[in-house]
């Protein structure tokens, strides 16, 4: 099985799914954006929690990949807000972060995240998790 980022099966309706990526680390943001776009998704970028929250409400992406340690609004709090708001409640959330101690993972899931990926991360793994979640819908 190839490890390449070939696009997965096209979702219903043939439109590219929209993914919201939020991280204040521009290296990570670029990597995630580049790889997911290559795999057939449209990626919206946010550099901090508030920008991400604004985009989430405005655009209602099909999936959100969020860093935890972001300025203005951290990933956990952002996750809680997304889950609390009727309009954004159903957006699946993958947390991608360097904070990987067990209590952090627990807090992530308690806040309502669907998945938790540790940094340093493998883009291939991220892609398959994204596909797994979006494939389900």
């Amino acid at each position: 099985m190839s490890d390449s980022d070939a696009p997965g099966p096209a979702p219903e309706g043939g439109e590219r799914p929209v993914v919201l990526a939020a991280d204040d680390d521009t290296d990570v943001l670029e990597l995630v954006t580049f790889r997911l776009e290559r795999s057939g998704y449209t990626v919206l970028q946010a550099h901090d929690g508030e920008e991400a929250w604004a985009l989430a409400r405005e655009v209602k992406p099909d999936l959100a990949v969020l860093d935890v340690m972001m300025p203005k609004l951290d990933g956990f709090e952002l996750t809680r807000r997304i889950r609390a708001d009727e309009a954004t409640r159903r957006i699946p959330i993958i947390l991608l972060t360097a904070r990987a101690q067990d209590p952090d993972v627990q807090e992530g899931f308690d806040a309502g995240a669907d998945d938790y990926l540790r940094k340093p991360f493998s883009p291939q793994e991220l892609r398959s998790r994204v596909q797994a979640i979006l494939g389900r819908r």
Partner: protein
């Protein structure tokens, strides 16, 4: 003039001259040390390993203690930025010292505070704690509402409930850089058995653009007074403190930002409530305690800027602050006078404390007094022009040069001020700082003597405008008063 009087005055002038020679030599030495330290710190950034410190499960937790009195204008932004600090494990404890404004209300609203009875250690007595709150959204934010008792008392109350092995003491209006805790925790990580306290460089936030409690653009203040203080802080932080810490004789860790080993703070009894210079006195007390017990220790200083603070822009407020500092100096030194010139206390007793006494506390005697007497004696023909010029050079001229040197160190090291006009302005003000402001400062010190003689206590009020209200510097560098 009688011969005895003449002799006495001439001696005084000579002593003043020597005072300046020693001070100048000392500052040149400190500047040299700072230059070398800075060079190595810049290179060290490439292999500092802050990422490792962040993700290591061994990095100790830090409790950030924030004493607050009527800080309603800035407290929410400040706390928000503290909660967002890039550090693996920390809590924020705000101690409202009987605030009469809306400090606690604003915090309650912004962070969804809920009353929770928090267990407190009773080692250090404080004024009564009325209530404690925890934030629903950020369980690592605790707010203590207590009766007024002064900054020291508020800090002690926060200390009594701090849960982590280290505490970071700051001012309510300190703006910390994102990596601040990581940077000051790094020396502790490297030598946990030795490091008991770490100080950090304070920079001036007036004029900077601040967003959500972070300095996003560094600009020189519009206010002349603030610019002069920028230079002063360069000289005192970049140069002086770096040098002192290399001698392990750092006499003061600023109350605006400092990291301490919590249990040690408790052991020495926390902050002293009877002084206005509680940060100075505490640092001396730590040195004394550890040297009394012959315990090896180190107090470090991180010169990479970590903290930004607002300084007074009005002469009256600044004057009150400097008079207060003078009183604090005296209170700290007299409480620990047994350390003065006592070899048992190493570089702290033999170098740092005499320095504070002679070159800070007594400085007006030699600078104002010496200068005045020199000019008078010259005018009556007792001293030659050459001597007068020499005196002016070592007193005023050298001051200007040293400030210039501090500027160079800052430029090569940190380059925080990015515009050409700002550098030019700084150089121009270096002249004013050395010739004019310094003398004014000495005058305030004299008023400090008067305060001490009268037994004045207390803090005075400080007008807090709040960060979002700070005016950005005029783009053309025009002065705006």
């Amino acid at each position: 003039m009688s011969s005895a009087a003449r002799y006495a005055l001439l001696t005084f002038v000579v002593v003043s001259f020597v005072y300046y020679l020693v001070l100048d030599a000392f500052y040149v030495l400190l500047t040299g040390l700072a230059w070398r330290q800075m060079g190595s710190e810049i290179r060290r950034r490439a292999y500092l390993g802050l990422d490792e410190a962040f993700r290591s499960p061994l990095t100790p937790g830090v409790s950030v203690l924030v004493p607050a009195y009527n800080e309603g204008a800035v407290i929410v932004a400040s706390v928000r930025s503290l909660l967002a600090l890039h550090y693996p494990r920390h809590e924020v404890i705000v101690a409202s010292d009987g605030s009469t404004d809306d400090t606690v209300d604003r915090l309650t609203e912004a962070f969804d505070l809920v009353p929770v009875p928090i267990a407190a250690r009773d080692r250090i007595a404080t004024a009564k704690v009325r209530a404690t709150y925890v934030s629903r959204r950020h369980p690592n934010l605790v707010v203590v509402d207590k009766e007024n008792g002064g900054r020291s008392d508020a800090l002690n109350a926060a200390l009594n409930i701090a849960r982590h092995p280290y505490v970071c003491v700051i001012d309510a209006d300190s703006l910390l850089e994102e990596d601040a805790l990581l940077k000051v925790a790094k020396p502790v990580l490297d030598q946990p058995e030795l490091l008991v306290a770490v100080g950090g460089t304070i920079r001036i936030a007036n004029g900077c653009r601040v967003d959500h409690g972070r300095v996003v653009e560094v600009r020189l203040p519009a206010s002349r007074l603030a610019v002069i203080q920028v230079l002063e802080y360069f000289r005192s932080f970049l140069d002086a403190r770096v040098g002192w810490s290399r001698l392990n004789a750092l006499g003061i860790i600023s109350g605006a930002f400092g990291l301490f080993h919590r249990e040690l703070l408790e052991t020495v009894g926390g902050y002293w409530t009877e002084t206005v210079g509680e940060d100075f006195e505490l640092t001396l007390r730590l040195h004394r305690h550890l040297r009394d017990r012959d315990e090896p220790y180190r107090i470090a200083f991180v010169s990479d800027p970590v903290c930004w603070t607002e300084v007074p822009e009005q002469l009256s407020t600044l004057g009150r602050q400097r008079r207060r500092w003078q009183r604090g100096l005296w209170q700290g030194m007299s409480r620990h006078r047994r350390m003065m010139l006592n070899p048992r206390y190493g570089a702290v007793g033999m170098l740092a404390m005499p320095y504070f006494l002679v070159f800070e506390f007594l400085s007006p005697v030699f600078s104002l007094g010496g200068l005045a007497v020199t000019i008078v004696l010259f005018l009556v023909g007792e001293l030659s022009l050459t001597f007068l010029l020499a005196f002016l050079f070592v007193s005023l001229g050298q001051g200007v040069l040293l400030t210039g040197a501090a500027l160079v160190v800052e430029e090569f090291g940190y380059q925080r001020y990015s515009r050409r006009r700002e550098i030019a302005r700084l150089f121009a003000y270096a002249v004013v700082e050395g010739i004019g402001f310094h003398q004014l400062h000495d005058w305030w010190r004299v008023m400090g003597y008067v305060d001490l003689a009268r037994g004045t206590t207390g803090w005075g009020t400080q007008v807090r405008r709040g960060f979002d209200a700070l005016p950005a510097g005029d783009a053309d560098g025009h002065l705006v008063e």
